[in-house]
């Protein structure tokens, strides 16, 4: 039974009934309802328990400002905690429940906090749980359980989210009267509606965003007419007008939540939150990232509550909210109301409430002599006006039962008692300056409104309407239109303002005639007076913060937690500042305000993540052309940068270790193939290409003949190795540089940086050809036999020696053969255009059958190279390793006049004799494999602190050597061959001997053979 619903009025569809549940109770509402209006229509005010004291709380506001009515929506993974009932649209089947109560909303054990409230004032946590320090982890479990309102869902979010970018000339935030006029003015005129646009005018691109389901803003909650059309219908006619224009985007259910530098704004559009789940295939929410040339902020204003003892009891509501529930949703919020006011707008709420059927008995007005047309109208409706009075206390716990009224000065306490089930409070209006402030616009104090309004705009931005402190409807419509025309003009589009609709004259000029009332000091007996309902902060907490000298506004905020709830203090901040100012004897602007930060209202993590959340789209996966073959043939992949590379290929019943051992042996005994396509390849060409490479590498490439290859090390200017690879000279003016898999992009950037910033006079051009060419390494004693069957190129060592390359036809595919080897075996790297690589791989596998060809992965490659003592940059170097440290002085040219790192290598520090140097380690027990990263100590029995002399960089069981092998960087290592060292681990100490970092075929006979 919606017994509190009027039979007429409002913009709801009474012909349809929507069924929903609240705490399991089945209730009904109508399309157009919010959860809050539907609950109130059913007479439900008590909707939650407060954050700290678990006090019963009811609905306070009618929109985004709501501090109390935070509920849990939905079920399972799609649950949303802390949803504002006042902004949650009702749909059939909506499941809502109250929060922060146990076992039930009506009986909540947590309410004991309220009894003990004297023990838990502001700063309680800071004071109480500081000692003993170790006990924090114990306390924390209980505090975490008690803290917070809603509970985060524990299941994965089943919904889909989206992000998109948008650009516009004019972004209008808020589709109330000012915003609608601004959008009309900025938008290009459609033929026949207004004057035709000037010739050549293409029209400004306009986005109009509003957080509500329908445009209209305050008009939806008022009784006015515009051009003879009811104010509740006029926005729809403007929507129709705007929809007919190209390049005008009207976004409803869209909250502009963040305003960043250079007019970059973030908005969240709720696409399907108002629909039963599964009804639309569209994403649940869409995050808009908008770049606007000019922004019109028509964000309206939020009514300010008054602070008085018991002001948090269910049934104490904002006057404007009661008015909105009556006018927009046809709902009476109570039977008998008392109004508490300090300004004229309260009278409009009182009058509309009375007209909707609520018996408004009294207006308690703290002003000494309220006067004017609205006061007279209130009188004419039989409403008593008690001037110079305040509400001194509220009776009732789960619902207001009555109020105690006293004079403002307190001289006659409890002058009167009025029975009521509804208190409508109106303390003036706070313009919604959040976005303006976020953008960097300073706020200015307006004495007559007793609030902050936007000061000079920090970016291309205009605040209009109530957001700028303008409350008269005509003025809002006029200034909105001007702002729109002006915004379009600034973006380069001429236009004329739309006509301002004729408004019926009962709305007045919007003057509030406000007298500030912040709070009246009361004794604790009167009950708690809350200025921040969501975080349960009282006037007593402000007094305490002041006594403890938390008087800087930022300290005050954090100490009392004023404004730190999910509502960001929309109803509490100004009151809190005012009370603080009173305590410290300053003005409110003197105290200042805290920073408004994005987001204006909470934004779901899903919307911020968009589709880039999981699996494939989380980070690009790079695949080689042979990827599908690898996957189909047992590849166990590892991530190397963004690449997927086979770590090894698992055969039926084989472990990873077994596979690596098998592959490692196969390369030394037969032939193996490795997908080496991921190695970086850079085409370097130009007249100065050789000179360029000479400057970048420690070695010399100008002396390299075309057709030959050379290994090189690259250092940063500090002399430390940062990449390595084999470079082939393709022609006099052309080289193919290879880099590590992970270093490809960095190296190309490094090249470009030097070329563009320092050596721009060189004639050189670089192009990445990493993915142009796929590469297959064929390695092993039988590799020559295998490859020679596929090409007419003479592969004999005389014709095609180690470290040379040839253009070649390979199995009919035009490519290149490089006689290079990272395994220490005779080997060829076959480069073919990427689209032929899979085919070549399969041909090799077929042709290699008689050789028992073995595809091998990165781990076998690592073991093989470690057997040979070949380094991996980034594994055997750590950014503090020079070529000399690696024992590769032979790669550092002594003849070249200069190269990157040359000076660095002459620094005293890089010349120190006790640097860490690359050596091999052989464990005393050949079966023990040292963990990589382990530290090396000279003394096996040393007590902590154990002197450390270096660390193990690579370590494997080598099947080909028959024992474990390791590479390590050890202080003065090159001079300590044969010395014993200890590797102390947590549970044991491994002993090892320092040896040369070559464990297999030291002479390189296999490599060159």
């Amino acid at each position: 039974m919606q017994s509190w619903r009027n039979s007429t009025g409002g913009i709801i569809d009474r012909s349809r009934r929507l069924s929903f549940t609240f705490d399991g109770r089945r209730l009904a509402g109508h399309p157009g309802d919010t959860l809050a209006s539907a609950l109130l229509a059913n007479g439900i005010h008590l909707v939650g328990r407060s954050f700290k004291y678990h006090r019963p709380r009811g609905i306070v506001g009618s929109g985004v400002e709501e501090p109390n009515a935070l509920v849990r929506l939905g079920e399972g993974g799609a649950v949303e905690p802390n949803a504002r009932a006042t902004t949650s649209e009702l749909f059939d089947g909506l499941v809502a429940s109250s929060q922060n109560r146990w076992p039930s909303l009506a009986f909540d054990v947590g309410a004991l906090n309220s009894v003990a409230s004297g023990l838990i004032p502001a700063g309680f946590y800071y004071k109480t749980f500081m000692w003993p320090a170790k006990a924090w982890t114990f306390y924390e479990r209980f505090i975490r359980r008690a803290a917070g309102l809603g509970q985060a869902p524990e299941e994965p979010d089943p919904d889909v989210y989206e992000k998109r970018f948008a650009h516009c000339d004019v972004l209008v935030v808020g589709a109330g009267p000012a915003g609608l006029q601004a959008a009309r003015a900025a938008a290009p005129a459609p033929a026949g509606v207004r004057a035709a646009p000037a010739a050549g005018r293409s029209g400004a691109r306009v986005i109009l965003a509003d957080e509500q389901a329908v445009p209209g803003g305050s008009l939806l909650a008022e009784h006015v007419t515009l051009d003879g059309v009811p104010g509740q219908d006029w926005p729809e006619s403007v929507r129709t007008e705007l929809a007919s224009m190209t390049d005008v985007t009207l976004l409803t259910r869209t909250t502009v939540a963040g305003y960043y530098d250079h007019n970059f704004l973030v908005a969240v559009e709720r696409l399907t939150d108002h629909l039963p789940s599964g009804e639309s295939p569209l994403p649940r929410q869409r995050l808009w990232k908008i770049r606007a040339r000019h922004v019109v902020l028509a964000t309206g204003a939020i009514e300010r509550p008054l602070v008085f003892p018991g002001n948090d009891r269910p049934g104490v509501m904002l006057g404007s909210a009661v008015r909105a529930f009556a006018n927009r949703w046809g709902v009476r919020c109570g039977a008998r109301a008392v109004v508490f006011a300090n300004n004229d707008s309260a009278y409009r709420s009182a009058i509309d409430a009375a007209d909707s059927g609520i018996h408004v008995t009294t207006i308690v007005d703290c002003r000494a002599a309220p006067r004017g047309r609205l006061v007279e109208e209130a009188h004419s409706r039989g409403i008593d006006v008690l001037a110079g009075s305040v509400i001194a206390g509220v009776e009732g716990r789960k619902r207001v039962r009555g109020v105690a009224i006293s004079t403002l000065d307190g001289s006659t306490p409890a002058a009167a008692r009025k029975e009521c089930d509804l208190v409508m409070m109106s303390g003036g209006w706070n313009p919604t300056v959040h976005l303006a402030s976020q953008s960097g616009t300073r706020l200015a104090w307006d004495e007559s409104l007793a609030t902050f309004i936007p000061g000079d705009a920090a970016s291309h931005q205009t605040s209009v309407g109530a957001a700028a402190g303008t409350f008269g409807l005509v003025e809002c419509l006029t200034s909105g239109a001007l702002a729109g025309t002006d915004a379009a003009a600034r973006a380069g589009f001429d236009g004329e303002a739309p006509p301002v609709p004729e408004v019926d004259d009962d709305t007045g000029d919007g003057a509030l005639d406000l007298e500030a009332f912040w709070h009246r000091p009361a004794s604790p007996r009167d009950g708690k007076a809350f200025h921040d309902l969501q975080n349960d902060v009282t006037t007593a907490d402000v007094a305490l913060a002041t006594r403890e000298n938390y008087v800087s506004v930022e300290h005050f905020k954090r100490y009392t937690t004023t404004g730190m709830g999910t509502d960001q203090g929309k109803t509490s901040n100004v009151n809190g500042l005012a009370i603080l100012a009173g305590h410290v004897g300053s003005s409110i602007p003197g105290v200042g305000h805290t920073t408004y930060r994005p987001f204006y209202t909470p934004v779901t993590i899903g919307a911020l993540a968009g589709i880039d959340t999981a699996g494939e789209l989380y980070d690009p996966v790079r695949r080689t052309p042979m990827h599908a073959w690898h996957a189909a043939n047992g590849a166990h992949f590892e991530d190397v940068g963004q690449w997927k590379r086979p770590y090894c290929y698992l055969r039926e019943g084989e472990s990873v270790e077994e596979a690596v051992e098998r592959e490692t042996r196969a390369v030394r005994t037969g032939v193996g193939i490795l997908d080496a396509s991921t190695l970086g390849k850079i085409d370097v060409q130009g007249k100065d290409a050789a000179a360029f490479l000479d400057r970048l590498y420690t070695g010399t490439f100008s002396t390299l003949a075309p057709g030959r290859c050379r290994y090189g090390l690259m250092c940063h200017d500090d002399g430390m190795v940062f990449d390595d690879g084999v470079t082939a000279r393709i022609a006099d003016n052309r080289f193919l540089v290879s880099t590590t898999t992970g270093g490809a992009a960095t190296v190309l950037n490094w090249f470009e940086e030097w070329l563009q910033t320092e050596w721009w006079d060189l004639d050189v051009h670089m192009t990445s050809v990493t993915t142009q060419w796929a590469a297959i390494a064929v390695a092993g004693p039988e590799s020559r036999d295998l490859v020679s069957g596929l090409t007419t190129t003479d592969l004999s060592s005389d014709a095609f020696p180690f470290m040379t390359w040839r253009d070649a036809d390979i199995a009919g595919i035009p490519g290149r053969i490089f006689r290079i080897s990272f395994s220490g075996e005779t080997g060829y790297e076959l480069h073919v255009p990427a689209s032929y690589a899979l085919s070549l791989w399969q041909i090799l596998m077929m042709a290699g059958e008689r050789h028992a060809i073995t595809p091998y992965g990165t781990e076998a490659m690592h073991v093989l190279r470690a057997e040979k003592g070949f380094i991996i940059v980034g594994q055997d170097t750590d950014g503090t390793t020079t070529p000399h440290d690696l024992g590769m002085s032979w790669l550092v040219s002594k003849k070249k006049p200069d190269f990157l790192g040359k000076r660095g290598l002459r620094r005293p520090d890089t010349l120190r004799e006790d640097r860490k140097q690359l050596v091999g380690l052989l464990t005393d027990d050949p079966q023990v494999v040292i963990p990589e990263g382990a530290h090396v100590s000279p003394e096996p029995e040393a007590k902590p602190p154990v002197p450390m002399e270096g660390w193990v960089s690579s370590s494997y069981m080598s099947p080909n050597c028959g024992h474990s092998i390791a590479l390590a960087l050890i202080r003065r290592g090159h001079d300590r061959m044969g010395e014993s060292v200890a590797i102390p681990l947590e549970d044991r100490t491994i002993r090892a001997r320092i040896v040369k970092p070559v464990f297999f075929d030291e002479e390189g006979a296999r490599l060159r053979g």
């Binding site: 295939p281 690009p620 052309p625 192009t767 050809v769 009919g812 689209s835 899979l838 070549l840």
Partner: protein, 191 residues
Amino acid sequence: MAEAWQRQSPLARRSPMDDDTGAGLAMTEREFLAKITVRGKVADDAIRDALGIALPGEPNTACSGKDHAILWLGPDEWLVVGPPDTEKELVSTLATALPDAAVIDVTEGYATIRLGGPLAREVLSMGTPLDLHPREFAAGAATRTLFARTTVILHKISDDPVFDIHVERSQAEYLWTWLETASRPYRDALR
């Protein structure tokens, strides 16, 4: 010579997406287009003689002829796109015509996805911060830009709209999946 059967395009394992309703999105791979990077000094006349089209001088634009398109990618960098299987001739034509430039075949290094249909701009706006409004990004516009979490060369072929997206080969499947995923709700809505 290599046989055609030996060749596999980067997105050979993905099925093209048709726009059955005419209101959605069509997505296909343009297989084996010849793609040549040109870097260095390029004379407009030489290009005109070689390919019959002008060299785009304006940043982020492309010039297109019957068979070829030239995309401006940097002050000294262009991408020349030609018909499938013409990269060899194209490289030699360009190398001859442009002795002072580096001419590098990148045909195999990039995949090309053609995206068309009324939803195309919307879907692209989910991946790139660029302004794709026809006023700002008209037919003939071309740019190398961030898209989702990769880099693409985006070329607007026509105002229908039709876009060609060149993406580094190894990330072609990522991009395809991304576009498929981003557009799925809207394609579903049209069903």
